[in-house]
């Protein structure tokens, strides 16, 4: 079962997005972009590392499915066109500020609790940390966005990547029944 799930995440992803590689715009899935190490447009390597670790904690397979490249791509386009749920819950674009501040706070909180950055924690410590921010804003969480809001947005991005596509529906046994299939380019 685990093998099937891993295979699924490698081959499904979000449909194709436009990624800039060596000055050319190429279409590939977020998962492919991750596998090919396509440069990120907005997020730094450290931010990407933290977000991937958080995504994997929220749902195993999110990293392979290209969560970080999905977020990066959504942050690189006009806020009005952004397809992350962040658009509904965060008042002031650009939304990269939200992710950037959230990552910083998560790492500061992780350092305060375990003396390590979040991505360097062992699995059980990551889970413990995430459990503590689901509903509450811990006193060691230094600055906005509030921890539960950051958790909620990242969790939604994760479920979007894993369950929001035609393949994601199929995996749950939910008929997709489209009127108009989403276009290839995101």
């Amino acid at each position: 079962m685990e093998q099937d799930r891993r295979e699924f995440f490698k081959t499904s992803g979000l449909g194709l997005l436009a990624f800039s590689v060596g000055g050319a715009s190429l279409l590939m899935t977020a998962a492919e972009a991750r596998a090919k190490n396509v440069p990120l447009k907005v997020l730094t390597a450290d931010e990407a590392r933290t977000l991937e670790a958080l995504g994997e904690t929220l749902h195993a397979g999110a990293g392979e499915a290209g969560l970080v490249h999905f977020i990066d791509q959504q942050l690189s386009i006009e806020p009005d066109d952004c397809m992350s749920l962040v658009k509904y819950f965060v008042n002031d674009p650009p939304f990269v500020d939200f992710y950037r501040a959230g990552v910083s706070s998560l790492n500061a909180y992780s350092k305060a609790r375990f003396r390590l950055f979040f991505a360097d924690l062992k699995g059980s410590d990551r889970v413990e940390l995430v459990k503590s921010i689901v509903r509450d804003n811990p006193k060691e969480w230094p600055f906005p966005p509030p921890a539960p809001l950051f958790y909620m947005v990242l969790r939604n991005d994760t479920t979007d990547v894993l369950y929001g596509t035609i393949d994601g529906f199929r995996r749950l046994g939910v008929p997709y029944m489209p009127h108009i299939v989403p276009p290839e380019m995101w």
Binding site: H59, D80, K87, Y88, N91, D92, G164
Partner: protein, 524 residues
């Protein structure tokens, strides 16, 4: 700065109200231009995808929110032609007789300057034009009106399952009154029950403006101009008459659209913001604000989704997003607790997708890791959902004012002060308890509720007979400026438990007819 050719009517916004005004006034022979802030959508843009659907809502309005409760402005707004009505779920109950006389009947709230019977012909006419599915007889709470033109939508397993809980508690349910076609109607297709309402309905089964009134407006000669963001209403030197609007075009150039009549129907928040930003020497605190009440009496429906998890496959992916069944009955406990304090209703058996605001995943936001995966597998087969909408009371202190922050055009943003009324909160709390009881009666293995949220923002340019106590008259016309008319939920004097869009249509329909019938008086 460039000047466009003068038109009879310029309409700010192309959503529920703006599209009706455009269609009707163009039909009455008026030269109409609609200025829409967002992009021009066509049916071909309405991709069946929970993520792509989010393009129909923008990253605006940007708000400063100061109150205890959020109004969820972006969830309740639209972006582009069709506005919020392009992605709305089309649950269309009528406001009730008592909603228009709340203060007279209960001593609290406000009275409208019109009665239900004033609006009834418009409800009937819109219903005939749009096509509503339902069963007027079974919907025992419905006020008088013509029977629905279409039979009810089909009820699937999820609906049957939840209905069994209502039945065991001796609560009545009826088919949901919904502006989704159960049969082909006026050349439009019937619903195929795939639950893509939130993504916009490209087959025209759901009453969105692209399918009906914007199409009619264009056919009747109206110009619908997208990417045109109105920044202010322009006035003559006397301050008594509007002369048109100022807007930014797609290239961010400032343009003037002169018009004999200005209709502002840009969503509650943006309508109020536009009026507040339209200051002149004679209107120093905003246009239409001589009462000091512009922006006040802001309202929204306190809403909650109740969930039940069943073991069997209840086919929760089938149906319309707005639901299959409807009820205004309350449990005995709730009736006792709130008989005198307002109404609410249930929209029963919502079609669900795996993700998004009405998705399986968001129903249990605290789950992550393997718990989330396990839940998703169970929920895909057995999750049931129904929404409770409650009345909100008009409270003067709930208001929109201008923020010190500015948008990209240099216009001040809206600052929102909103606290749900105590009675609205009490109804919400009781809905949570009722929801659990109903699911338990239906045999659900688990039951829970989502968070309190706000649907359908209203008020702020309330109608009234007294210019000192209200902003607009019985037709949505500013008391202070004869040729400026407001469309949309901002003119509501009270907020019934009933969803807003049908009443927005009906008021716009009635006001259009009034405007056409009294054109020379209004424009002289």
């Amino acid at each position: 700065m460039q000047y466009d050719e003068e038109v009879d009517v310029v309409i700010v916004g192309s959503g529920a109200a703006g599209s009706v005004f455009a269609a009707k006034l163009a039909q009455f022979g008026k030269r109409v231009t609609v200025l829409e802030s967002g992009p021009a959508w066509t049916e071909n843009d309405l991709y069946s995808s929970p993520m792509w659907a989010r393009r129909l809502r923008g990253a605006s309005p940007q708000l400063d929110e100061k109150g205890k409760h959020h109004i969820y402005a972006r969830l309740n707004s639209g972006r582009g032609t069709g506005g919020a009505a392009l992605h709305h779920y089309a649950v269309w109950p009528r406001f009730q007789v008592e909603d228009f006389k709340r203060k007279s009947l209960t001593g609290t709230g406000l009275d409208w300057p019109i009665e239900y019977n004033d609006l009834r012909p418009a409800y009937d006419a819109v219903q005939e034009e749009v096509g509503i599915s339902g069963d007027a007889k079974a919907e025992v709470w419905r006020p008088p009106g013509a029977p629905y033109p279409l039979p009810p939508l089909h009820v699937f397993k999820q609906g049957e399952k939840i209905a069994s809980g209502f039945e065991r508690l001796e609560l009545r349910v009826s088919p949901i009154p919904i502006a989704v076609l159960s049969r082909p109607y006026h050349g439009r297709n019937a619903c195929v029950y795939d639950g893509w309402c939130d993504a916009g309905c490209p087959i025209g089964a759901l009453a969105n403006p692209l399918a009906i009134y914007l199409a009619e407006a264009t056919k009747n000669g109206a110009l619908v101009q997208a990417d045109s963001h109105v920044t202010r209403i322009l006035m003559d030197k006397s301050g008594k008459r509007a002369t048109g609007v100022e807007y930014k075009d797609k290239g961010n150039e400032t343009r003037i659209q002169p018009a004999k009549v200005v209709i502002v129907a840009a969503s509650t928040v943006e309508t109020i913001r536009t009026l507040l930003n339209s200051t002149t020497e004679q209107h120093p605190t905003g246009l239409g604000n001589s009462s000091g009440l512009l922006g006040h009496y802001l309202m929204a429906h306190p809403a909650v989704v109740a969930y039940g998890l069943f073991d069997e496959d209840i086919q929760n992916y089938l149906g319309a997003s707005g639901g299959q069944l409807y009820s205004q009955d309350k449990t005995a406990k709730a009736e006792k607790a709130h008989a005198a304090r307002g109404r609410r209703h249930w929209e029963i058996a919502l079609a669900l997708k795996p993700v998004d605001i009405q998705g399986l995943a968001i129903s249990r936001p605290e789950l992550f890791g393997s718990d989330l995966e396990q839940f998703m597998q169970r929920a895909a087969r057995g999750l049931a959902a129904m929404t409770a909408l409650s009345e909100d009371e008009p409270i003067k202190g709930n208001r929109i004012v201008l923020s010190s922050k500015k948008d990209k055009y240099g216009m001040r943003l809206a600052e929102v002060h909103y606290n749900i009324s105590p009675n609205g909160l009490a109804l919400y709390e009781q809905s949570k308890k009722d929801g659990a009881q109903i699911y338990q009666a239906a045999g659900a293995k688990e039951t829970w509720t989502g968070p309190l949220h706000a649907q359908h923002i209203a008020g702020g340019t309330i109608m009234g007979s007294d210019p000192k106590q209200s902003v607009t008259d019985a037709f949505g016309r500013l008391h202070d400026v004869a040729n400026v008319i407001i469309g949309g939920g901002s003119v509501f004097t009270t907020l019934s438990h009933a969803n807003s869009t049908y009443t927005i249509h009906a008021i716009a329909w009635r006001s259009s007819k009034y405007l056409a019938d009294n054109w020379s008086g209004i424009t002289k």
